[in-house]
Amino acid sequence: MAWLSNIPATVWEGLRAFLGPLALTMIVGLLLTLGWVQVNALFLVWLERKVAGHIQLRIGPKEVGPFGLLQTLVDGVKLLGKELITPAPVSWPLFVLSPILVFAPVLVSFVVIPFGPGTQIRDLNVGLMLIFAFGGLGVLAILMGGWASNNKYALLGAIRSVAQNVAYEIPLLLSAMSVVIMAGSLSFQAIVQAQEGLWYVFCQPVAALLYLVGATAETNRAPFDIPEAESELVAGFHTEYSGMRFALFFLAEYTNMFIVASVATALFFGGWRGPFWPGPWWFLLKVYLLIFVVIWVRWTFPRLRFDQLMNFAWKYMIPIAVLNLMVTAVVLKIVR
């Protein structure tokens, strides 16, 4: 039976010879990413509903599967079976493209997420830049969707979203820059390696806080969920979307949460570092703990008003982030 157990290795070697090592990593990485995105979204939606339930004196989903774990799967199947409604006055190429465009950049970001030492699809030397660059694309898709919907609520939601994302990307980048100055690299592997003795959250508490607040706003989560404020704008930019198109927006939102939490883990919480268990376990544990905090915040606070949100970014977060960056640079110059 020895030949049987050799089959995977043989197939692997064959594919390797046929495609070349780089292309093979890419294909396997893509398949794993696609699978992971689905599983992560299914789990996160379940987690969100379960946590929200317990916060609100309820028990959350419990019927489908053990602890209701399969509830999201059933919901996903339902969304798959729904009709894709395209209202008559929409500008359809943009309307159809938008959910795809909001989802694609999210996938790309997975290339550089460092799950463990060496457990990464590609360790690019501009990894952090890549994530922020592709993260910025999502807002374009939201604007497209809101504009193409030809609906006043969707348009208002899209406008709010653009203003908010532009405002909050600046403190996000600036706080990440303070870490980059300390680590001296944009590569995730190098940044995590640099946190050998001390996590950056302890040397850069201000940057960590700014990053977490900015990331919450960047992913449109409460209390910054202004673009989809359901009590004001019905459903914001995705008012006119139904079925799988709506599900893609949803999927992108939850995957985005995973990505910003991963970046936070790598930048501030020592990445995969931790005793006893292998790196990826620690990494995932930290990521989901951060996401849990974000969920907790969402179900506790009311929503900010739009102008208060903008004031908060421009008047407080950005000056503090600039100051923090400058202090970091000066102190490092003196110390080294």
Binding site: L156, R160, S231, L233, V234, W299, P302, R305, D307, Q308
Partner: protein, 370 residues
């Protein structure tokens, strides 16, 4: 203040009648300059059922279930007010035990109405969790009222000259358990909501109504008392048991959304006080007056009765012509005045403020449309 907008820069937005935050079927036609409101026009009448016309086609007793379906959140108070109007017209005496039960039930109903408003308002502001907490408390009240009245929302508990039935021990025990639980919850709400920075920023200084403006638009109830006018029918024209009870009328001077919120939360405390006192002195005896005719027939004349519901001044005007059927029965509902101030209040604010202000007025549309 708001900038005079050019016509080509503005657009119309229909907020409602199918919108998550208009609480029922209100339509606000907004003219917007970006997110800033230039003009607001409330459009009513989507749930008109012709209650006042129905009153002219049936006997006084047959109309009994109708008033509590106008404001379904303070149904018991409407029911009480209707009975009060007829009792005054006919000169009926109500036994002491019935008066006590009426006040206990009406104040429980006031608390449940304020709790529902509390939850819905926080949901308007984007906080979902307090809604479920408030509904948890409200559920207790509905269960207690269900024991006495047999229904959960639209109660026809009062009868001309009394109440339908006496209450059992389970009703009294339920209230005794509920009062301390509600007091503990009010502390939770204080830390979770009232002292929350985001909540205070969203409501403080938003939608300020001066006492003059409030009077000019006939605001009543918590909306008026938040503007510094301490007017409450329970003190101004006392009815039922209220003159004998010791309670305060919470008044705030600011006139903004936060004050309207605080007045309602303080009123919950006062209602608890009223219930405690009424429970302590609850006498025995009958719960129905004897000798009430089967077809109650007020002598011809014009009668007016005022009542303080959870939303404000309810006026019932009755024109009786000496028959079994009212010649005219007109309701002056509090929400109408409270809603009418919106076109004055909204221009210059943002869409998000619209929701905060509209929510803080606590309008119930079926009461306005009738």
């Amino acid at each position: 203040m708001h900038r005079q907008a050019l016509t080509e820069d503005t657009f119309y937005l229909n907020l409602g009648p199918q919108h998550p935050s208009t609480h029922g079927v209100l339509r606000l036609l907004l003219r917007l300059d970006g997110e800033r409101i230039v003009e607001c026009q409330p459009i009513l009448g989507y749930s008109h059922r012709g209650h006042e016309h129905m009153a002219q086609n049936r006997t006084y007793l047959q109309f009994m279930p109708n008033p509590c379906r106008m404001d379904y959140l303070s149904g018991l108070m409407y029911n009480h007010a209707y009975c009060l109007a007829l009792e005054r017209a006919c000169g009926l005496e109500v036994p002491a035990r019935a008066e006590h039960l009426r006040v206990i039930c009406a104040e429980l109903n006031r608390i449940s109405s304020h709790l529902l408003w509390f939850g819905a308002y926080l949901m308007d502001l984007g906080a979902f969790t307090p809604f479920l907490y408030a509904f948890d408390d409200r559920e207790d009240i509905l269960a207690i009222l269900g024991l006495a009245t047999g229904s959960r929302l639209t109660y026809s508990y009062c009868r001309f000259g009394g109440v339908r039935d006496d209450v059992g021990q389970d009703f009294l025990e339920g209230i005794r358990a509920f009062i301390p639980k509600m007091r503990a919850r009010l502390k939770d709400y204080d830390t979770l909501v009232t002292r929350n920075v985001i909540f205070v920023n969203r409501t403080q200084g938003v939608g300020v109504i001066s006492p003059e403006l409030a009077r000019a638009h006939a605001l009543t109830g918590p909306c008026l008392r938040a503007s510094g006018v301490g007017y409450d029918i329970r003190k101004a024209e006392p009815y039922g048991l209220y003159p004998e009870l010791d309670f305060d009328i919470p008044v705030r001077a600011g006139g903004d959304c936060l004050d309207r919120y605080l007045v309602r939360v303080l009123e919950i405390e006062q209602s608890l006080r009223i219930i405690e006192q009424a429970m302590a002195r609850l006498p025995g005896g009958p719960v129905k007056a004897t000798g009430v005719p089967q077809f109650i027939t007020p002598p011809p004349g014009l009668y007016h009765t005022s009542y303080e519901t959870a939303r404000g001044h309810l006026g019932i005007f009755l024109a009786a012509d000496g028959t079994r059927v009212p010649y005219r029965l007109k309701f002056r509902v509090p929400s109408f005045g409270n809603l009418g101030i919106l076109p004055k209040l909204l221009p210059g604010t943002l869409v998000a403020d619209t929701i905060a202000i509209l929510g803080s007025m606590d309008v119930v549309m079926p009461e306005i449309d009738r």
